[in-house]
Symmetry: C2
Subunit: 345 residues, 2 copies
């Protein structure tokens, strides 16, 4: 069964990336120039999220105008879906390394983080979302792109009579109220409803999977829509995948080598306890890289969103570590829950 756009149900690929509004961003070239001068840098690396790579050569060209000819600028061509996903090879090679669009996870003197706050108005969409909220208690969360408006959001909701609950979450999250694709601790507050303000469904669906006890209302200022997040198709798919893996006799245990996604202890424990489980190290986890391995199923200890969102495209069942424990009979199916990342690395 396919949806009209060719995606199978539950396939979130690119849902958060295809934006209807083209936004203007502040690349903070002055701050980059300062860092280059402070470090006396001759090699500057730039890393952009997938959705902004099309702007990357223009940003590089603008930067080149600011510098002498003896400065080399290189753009990372590696896929980038978060601050957990630093291009380590380019980072090593660079005197100054600029990471755009994500808030810091690893701090280093030579890394400059440029947040790229959205300039989309959020007041009208929150106004619409308020009609969907029962209140009076509501949790408020958003993404790095809209953090600069977080206080405004709180004020608007309080002015409308809501008790707004916010939380910083653990050290993986830079800001109060921020969510990541793999971490929704900022919604661990005493409110039955969560208002998510931001573009796309990637984050609110993760949020709804991680907090099935809460109702997640999406206020999307980019696509101008208000909607309740429905994690059901995903959850059904997770149950189906776990069931499919219950007969597996051999396992590939994927250890992701991205700096913010290495869960070595979890991967190692699985292979030490199961002689039919083999460790596979990999940077970018894609279906074609898994196709040659002669195992019945995979456990992915890297990004949980690869597992839940891209998993159906893999040639064999792809499970989170928690789902693996269910599949081999160590835990009950009722214990199935969303896989999250805590800490930095």
């Amino acid at each position: 069964m396919s949806e009209p756009d060719g995606r199978t149900p539950g396939d979130l690929t690119r849902t958060g990336m295809a934006l209807k509004h083209d936004r203007e961003w502040d690349y903070e070239l002055d701050r980059i120039k300062e860092a280059v001068e402070a470090h006396d840098a001759t090699f500057v690396g730039l890393q952009f999220p997938e959705g902004l790579k099309r702007r990357s050569t223009a940003v590089a060209a603008d930067l080149e105008q600011l510098f002498d000819d003896d400065i080399t600028i290189a753009i990372s061509g590696e896929p980038c879906y978060g601050a957990c996903d630093l291009d380590l090879d380019l980072l090593r090679r660079s005197d100054v390394f600029v990471h755009f669009g994500h808030s810091p996870m690893k701090e280093s003197d030579k890394i400059v983080y440029i947040p790229l706050f959205s300039n989309v108005e959020i007041e009208p969409i929150i106004e619409s979302a308020i009609e969907e909220l029962s209140g009076p208690d509501v949790a408020l969360v958003t993404t790095a792109q809209h953090m600069n408006r977080f206080e405004e959001m709180v004020d608007q909701l309080e002015d409308a009579g809501f008790r707004v609950h916010t939380r910083r979450g653990d050290e993986r999250l830079t800001h109060t109220g921020q969510v990541l694709g793999c971490n929704y601790e900022s919604a661990d507050v005493p409110a039955p409803e969560v208002l998510y303000v931001g573009g796309g469904k990637f984050h609110p669906l993760g949020l709804a999977m991680d907090h099935p006890e809460k109702e997640v209302i999406i206020a999307d200022p980019v696509n101008n829509l208000v909607e309740v997040a429905d994690p059901e198709p995903f959850l059904r798919q997770r149950y189906a995948t776990v069931h499919a893996a219950m007969d597996a006799e051999s396992w590939g245990v994927i250890l992701c080598t991205k700096i913010g996604q290495r869960r070595w202890d979890i991967a190692n424990e699985i292979v030490k306890r199961n002689e039919n489980a083999h460790l596979i190290t990999l940077n970018e986890i894609t279906p074609d890289r898994m196709q040659h391995f002669n195992v019945d199923a995979f456990v992915n200890t890297g990004c949980p969103r690869i597992t839940t969102d891209d998993g159906p495209r893999f040639p064999k069942p792809l499970l989170t570590p928690g789902e693996y424990e269910i599949a081999i009979g160590n835990r009950d199916l009722a214990e199935l829950q969303f896989d999250t990342f805590h800490g930095t690395w």
Copy 2:
């Protein structure tokens, strides 16, 4: 226009990988065990070429039987197409790192190269190929998999009355008579015909592109066929691609970060001389990683086989450095030639 197997003409993808005969390999577990003991290793990394990844977990399981429980074995999930393509992350992490199926390009005390020589008989196919050779002078080349039979091949040809010309090539090549996908120096000998012994068309087509003045006869003992390599479809495609790029105003210059594919000087020279050319660093060069970049064409300073063989699948023209010089008018179209790699890195 598609060929029966769904490939477009000139698309060599996987032609050398899909083997009709299933071969047995000697993984030399004893030699690995010796290295592990000599290094007192607790972490062993294994890297297999794409076509042998399906055997990787079985090899890991066999190795685990030889060791105590305190030794961890990890398999590289990264794509691997040659000795130029070492998994540096896993190499760093490993006390002993085993690379299967390619002859050494980087020597290091902790790297063990296991050649995986083919056990396929070569005498009958050379017998057939001899009928196609004019003689008396013939160059003889083969791949790493068949190097253990090279002397037999020479003897068989000499016994049939040929003057056999062999050469070691430059330091990128380990053995006399060996070819790589990017280096055919071993065919630089005074003979108008080259006999290539080995499976698939990947190597002989590169050879024919690099040596258009010679006739390349393929003796394929794996698929049991003798054929003359025809590089024409490729050459036409290269001309078409260069033409398509002649109007390009902006360029992405890809620097491959694989250890044996970094041609930094070439990439840097291009971006320094062309203000509309921007440096993009990348490990695995694939069409989907290039799709977001807003440039008119790309120059690939990494593996030339990505350019010639996979290039047609890219969203924009993908040129070798030499082709780029033609496209921007620095060289004449008649100077078009196959891009080769020399030295190691």
